[in-house]
Amino acid sequence: MKAIKKETKFEPIIIGIDTSCDETSIAVSKGRKILSNIRTTQIDLHKKFGGVVPDISRRAHEENIEGVYREALRKAKIEENDIEYIAVTYGPGLAIDLEVGINFAKELAIKLNKPFVPVNHMEGHLTSALALNSKGNGDVLDVVLDNMFPALALLMSGKHTEIVYVKNIGDYKKLGQTLDDAAGEAFDKVGRMLNFGYPGGPIVSEFAKRGELGKISLPIPMEKSNDLNFSYSGLKTACLYKIKELRESNIPEKEWIYDFCRSFVESITRSVEIKLLKALEQNSDIKSVLVGGGVFSSEFILRRVLKLVNDYGLDMFYPTKEIRSDNGAMICIAGYFNIIRNNYLTDIKQIQVLERNPRLSL
């Protein structure tokens, strides 16, 4: 029998940088413990920090990154010299946005002479449920982590809707993905049809809470397809026609809007339930389910998926609200697992030539 050896816990200070999305986000972690997680829009506009007032226009990464970085260090109560690893998203995302984060991380790694950890944004979402709070509390403690794989990951955001087979962290196989729009995108596009502007998805979600099911019928996407792919363009068109019909009926909007939003949220939720169940049935070795991504900011969708997984007899792990939509904390977590697997760069020349990969996939 192997002697159980008590190891010293490996908990390096990691800085996680994400500029692949609309907001600049930087976080600090100690191992899997999140010490701070700052996004551009979270910065108090009344309190100037470091002389910089954040530019809240979308994707103003260049202008904001230094300020967000300083705030992340301050909130984590660490000094720059405490940083041990620099993790950064190098894809997927818009090339020009990714470059801002990568260049910032490169300069930092070279200046501090610390390892550089390139992270796949999607691996960030996938591992976001594995984050612990600053005190080390969370659902996935080390003992859980040792026994949860193989797992299924369901990732839903504005950009992505996919189901991934996770043999172990770092060993992924995509089982299904969206053929056209992502679920989060469908929310925002329907929000736009209802004149909620952009992003209109959160308003659709809120209105759905006041609505009643069964009053307005909408199709359930990909209900009959046999694979694990998603598609939301048909639902989008059905919504366009339904809204037109309701508007032409001259019934005041406030009499149908809540029920319409309720039905729409139901259609999205059903499509996800159907595919997830199919994926579980097709992969009998699965021990748990991980979810991540901004669509799960909707507690309604989260609870429904949670119920399905629990009824199936498995545990489901999901990130706390703050790290569901795009954020730097999940880059720390994915970075941490890459560090453990020795997936990082220390050679300055190698760091300098690392390039963004806009189409990076799991």
Partner: protein, 370 residues
């Protein structure tokens, strides 16, 4: 603390009394369509601070305020197009609209959030409407319970759940009996929303079409036919293209088939990945092999791009310079800027318009420059 049981007979006089209390910086408990609320003059800082002390710890969560019309709200906040739509269609009603406060709005801190925004309601209940009208100023609109206690629907249960030491903050209670148990209002933040996704570039695009030659027009029955047609179009234009970038400028409503068409071009080039919507990434790259040379198909979407500055720094120019094949959805939004960019670098634009004929059928028109 005084409690008045409201009746049809004492209504006017009770409202007048409550308004005097509000004017003097006092607190009034009043009914709404959702639950009992606690009101003070929202422009009186001392009074608002009193409500904070009464409610107890609630983090940084600001109080909403009640007004009687959109016009009244507009005195205190900037109403953007999104908020305007919400006021028009859903208020009065159980919706709180969050907008940015105007500078020097005169509204107390705590109603104005740390972000400089204010949540505003127009109650669908005559009592708060009468109070605000008579007061001539906005009144705080937050549930009457102290933090962590149940939301009150009757004065009896309210008093039972409110500790004695908290009750000393209460000046006047307007008892309207048992209220229907409606869910609290839905809070909608419009401060980060923009309608810029609506930017109409249609006219620029239509003018460009008028100056172009119609190459082909088809009606497709379903997405599969749109994909086949895209392959045919890709074959014609890619085979006959000599040098410089080749841009397919796609225009059409949400769901009109722009992404399906792009899939077809991807299939023609034998791209291995699934070509899907680039709305969120803004630009997607797909690798393909062109007679032994690795090349990139560029798929762009301007739907989320909010201004020309953002369009110009999207990275499109670099792709044009590399002479790639580029698909652009919502190309009509910045069509003049696009045309100029392509002209200055050297390249060709093929304009493609998508129209709905029915839920599944589309009319697709392809135009090339004269």
């Amino acid at each position: 603390m005084e409690i008045i049981k409201l009746t049809e007979q004492n209504l006017e006089e009770s409202i007048a009394k409550a308004v005097e209390v509000l004017k003097a910086g006092g607190t009034v408990i009043y009914p709404t369509e959702t639950c009992y609320g606690i009101g003070v003059d929202a422009t009186n800082q001392v009074a608002v601070d009193k409500v904070y002390d009464y409610k107890g710890f609630r983090g940084q969560k600001p109080f909403s305020m009640a007004v009687t019309s959109k016009e009244m709200a507009a005195k205190y906040v900037e109403i953007n197009d999104i908020a305007d739509n919400l006021y028009k269609n859903y208020l009065p009603g159980p919706v709180t609209v969050v907008s940015n406060a105007k500078p020097n709005s005169g509204i107390a801190t705590g109603v104005v959030s740390q972000w400089g925004s204010i949540g505003i309601r127009i109650p669908d209940h005559k009592i708060p409407v009468m109070l605000v009208e008579k007061l001539g100023k906005p009144m705080t609109s937050t549930s009457a319970n102290v933090s962590y206690k149940p939301v009150p629907y009757s004065i009896e249960s309210f008093l039972k759940n409110t500790p004695k030491k908290s009750q000393k903050y209460l000046d006047l209670i307007l008892d309207y009996g048992e209220l229907p148990k409606n869910v609290p209002s839905t809070v909608l933040d419009t401060t980060m929303n923009s309608l810029q996704v609506l930017r109409e570039g249609k006219i620029e695009f239509e003018n460009a079409i008028k100056k172009s030659k119609l190459y082909k027009q088809v009606e497709t029955k379903d997405p599969e036919e749109t994909i086949s047609f895209a392959k045919e179009i890709a074959d014609h234009f890619i085979t006959n293209h000599d040098n410089g970038a080749l841009v397919f400028a796609l225009s059409g409503e949400l769901g009109a088939g722009k992404t399906q068409f792009s899939k077809g071009v991807g299939e023609y080039l034998k791209v291995e990945d699934i070509v899907n919507s680039p709305t969120y990434t803004i630009i997607n790259e797909y690798k393909y092999n062109d007679n032994g040379i690795d090349r990139v198909l560029v798929h762009m979407d301007t739907w989320r791009i909010s201004d020309v500055k953002e369009f110009n720094r999207s990275g499109l120019q670099e792709y044009l310079e590399k002479s790639d094949i580029i698909l652009i959805e919502w190309a009509d939004k910045y069509f003049n800027d696009l045309e100029q960019m392509v002209k200055s670098i050297g390249g060709k634009i093929v304009k493609i318009n998508f129209e709905y004929l029915s839920q599944t059928e589309r009319k697709i028109s392809v135009y090339e420059s004269n």
